[in-house]
């Protein structure tokens, strides 16, 4: 600690240069924080996916529906604990920009299979009692200022209500909360029987099935059994674990993790050069001063440590500020993107990795000039001065 003022004073020697270097590190770490949250957003479903849940979709694509009759047949298969379905609605609330997922579900079985969506028993009862009832995530309700008791109109695009000419009206009967940090609080869930009735009572299909299995180790065999059951039928199925399903879904956008890693690698490589150059210049400029320190009795190791401490402090100031600003920005940015990325935060693991990168940056950029300073021959350096 007694050397801190010396390290700090050296960083203040060329204030503008140090400031610009700190700013470049800061921007890099803001970017790191925001991209980490973006990556989390794309993969939240994957991380949340239960080990004991399978998803059965149409073999051709997720868009193709499956007959409702499949539920009872899946339920009879060995190893299957519970089955429910979900159906993408794709309606518009006031403006197409107000995007949020709307799903037609069977309330009690759906919530049974998704314990991460927490709804009070009273609200569940109210939902069961009201055919036009809907429940939404708390974050979605806050975004649009909804409260329980509100009537919410949604224009159907895929499904047009035959009685109203396309408009569907829902009674908001409850707000569910995320039981885990990664759970999506922006969903709009309503009853499938209301959808079916509005379509004339002959819908007969659902989007996909969610299957809970008793033993996660049996997942491949059970998936195989489900798909075999419907082989050679007009609607063949493809069953995977929910995690694999989530990954495939997220990768429709592209391999976001790989893209983000590539962007960050380019950013940090550039920063490495910027900070490395700053440190090299800084040490080159004061060869004489370092020689004087050595003449006073500072050992090679101590001089090396001083230079390394400088580069680490530079990286630490920029990096810590960058991560802090990213943490502050994530909330408003996440709010603005909530329609597309309902989960948007920097996971603690990424924060820890960020701190490790900060230290690594300081060490990597400091080692070459520190070695140069360590090898400095005092008499030669003083003679050249």
């Amino acid at each position: 600690m007694k050397y801190l003022h010396l390290v700090w004073a050296n960083l203040r020697r060329r204030r503008l240069r140090s400031l610009l270097t700190v700013l470049s590190i800061l921007v890099a770490f803001i970017l790191y924080g925001l991209l980490s949250a973006t990556n989390k957003g794309f993969n939240a479903g994957v991380d949340l996916a239960g080990n004991d849940r399978l998803v059965t979709i149409h073999k051709v694509s997720l868009i193709q529906p499956l007959p409702v009759s499949y539920q009872s047949r899946i339920e009879t298969l060995e190893g299957v604990d519970a089955v429910t379905y979900s159906n993408w609605f794709g309606g518009i609330y006031q403006d197409p920009k107000n995007f949020f997922p709307q799903m037609a579900v069977d309330p009690a079985p759906f919530l049974d299979l998704y314990p991460e969506y927490v709804l009070s028993p009273e609200e569940l009862e109210a939902w069961k009692a009201d055919r036009t009832g809907a429940v939404v995530g708390r974050a979605l309700a806050e975004k649009f200022g909804w409260k329980v008791g509100d009537r919410i109109p949604i224009q159907g695009t895929i499904y047009r209500n035959q009685e109203t000419g396309g408009l569907w009206e829902f009674n908001l009967v409850g707000l569910y909360e995320a039981g885990t940090k990664d759970a999506d609080e922006t969903q709009f869930l309503f009853r499938y029987d209301y959808l079916n009735e509005g379509m004339g009572g002959s819908l007969g299909v659902v989007g996909w099935y969610i299957v809970r299995i008793a033993d996660p180790d049996q997942a491949p065999q059970i998936a195989e059994a489900i798909d075999s059951t419907f082989a050679n039928s007009p609607a063949e199925t493809k069953t995977t674990t929910e995690k694999a399903f989530g990954q495939a879904f997220a990768q429709q956008v592209g391999n976001t993790a790989a893209i983000i890693r590539a962007v960050l690698a380019a950013v940090f490589f550039t920063i490495l050069l910027v900070v490395g150059n700053t440190m090299a210049q800084s040490v080159r400029e004061r060869t004489n001063e370092l020689a004087v320190l050595k003449a006073m009795g500072f050992s090679n190791g101590r001089v090396m440590a001083l230079v390394l401490a400088e580069s680490c402090l530079l990286a630490l100031v920029g990096g810590a500020l960058g991560l802090l600003v990213a943490a502050i920005l994530i909330q408003p940015v996440g709010k603005a993107l909530s329609g597309f990325l309902p989960v948007f935060y920097m996971p603690p693991k990424d924060m820890a990795i960020g701190i490790a990168i900060v230290l690594l940056l300081g060490l990597v950029t400091g080692v070459p000039p520190a070695l140069q300073a360590m090898r400095l021959q005092v008499a030669d350096a003083l003679r050249r001065a």
């Binding site: 003022h5 010396l6 203040r12 003449a295 006073m296 009795g297």
Partner: protein
């Protein structure tokens, strides 16, 4: 050699530099003894080996041949780490161009050698105050080098050299960059350190008036002693 026991013994020292294929014999079989409490001036033309000899005595350079003993310690046999530690405890350097850290105040500059000790912050502060008082710069403690005159900067340099109370004070042309008045003040200071505080001083200088302040003057030429005189 001056009266009293020898603090520094330079024995048969030879120093060779190589510049490309050229061999330069900077010091040739040199024998010098410096007594404890002595104020020795080293004079000679440029390239005569004065500064090299000073660097070898201060442990900044090593002889190619021969031995250097300071206070009964063969410093030419110490490794880099041991030499650094030895310098921190036994040697204070005063340079021609002061060599202060421009980013540190006078008191922080003077404190630098004390950072290598185990002294508490309070004790370091006290020693810095004493050293600055000794060179008459107590009122300039918070000033940066750029806010000081050349003479004041050199006085800070002297304070930095003596703050650890070293055995040996090595001065490489301490008045070479100063006007006559400031130079005289620095010489007064060195003289006082030698006479009143018993410091052993070896000073390289081109200036006969500066050398006249020393108790003994050695003249070097082409790496050998050309003459010796009591000042």
């Amino acid at each position: 050699m001056a009266s009293g026991e020898a603090l520094v013994r330079v024995q048969n020292v030879h120093k060779v530099y190589h510049r490309g294929n050229e061999r330069i014999d900077v010091l040739r079989d040199l024998d010098v003894n410096v007594g404890k409490g002595e104020f020795l001036a080293l004079m000679g033309p440029s390239g005569s080996g004065k500064s090299t000899l000073l660097n070898i005595i201060g442990g900044l350079d090593r002889p190619t041949e021969g031995g250097v003993e300071v206070g009964e310690r063969r410093i030419d046999r110490l490794n880099d780490g041991q030499l650094a530690s030895w310098r921190a405890r036994h040697v204070g350097f005063v340079f021609q161009f002061y060599n202060l850290m421009p980013v540190l105040t006078a008191e922080r500059n003077v404190e630098l050698p004390l950072l290598l000790t185990n002294l508490s912050r309070a004790k370091r502060k006290k020693q810095v105050e004493t050293a600055l008082a000794l060179v008459g710069l107590s009122d300039r403690a918070k000033h940066y080098p750029r806010q000081l005159s050349g003479g004041q900067e050199q006085r800070v340099g002297v304070a930095r050299a003596i703050v650890t109370d070293p055995t040996l004070l090595l001065c490489d042309e301490p008045t070479g960059d100063l006007d006559r008045k400031s130079g005289d003040e620095i010489l007064d200071l060195l003289e006082g350190l030698n006479q009143q505080h018993g410091k052993t001083i070896i000073m390289v200088t081109h200036d006969p008036l500066a050398a006249a302040r020393a108790t003994r003057v050695l003249h070097l030429d082409k790496g050998q002693l050309s003459s010796e005189a009591a000042a």
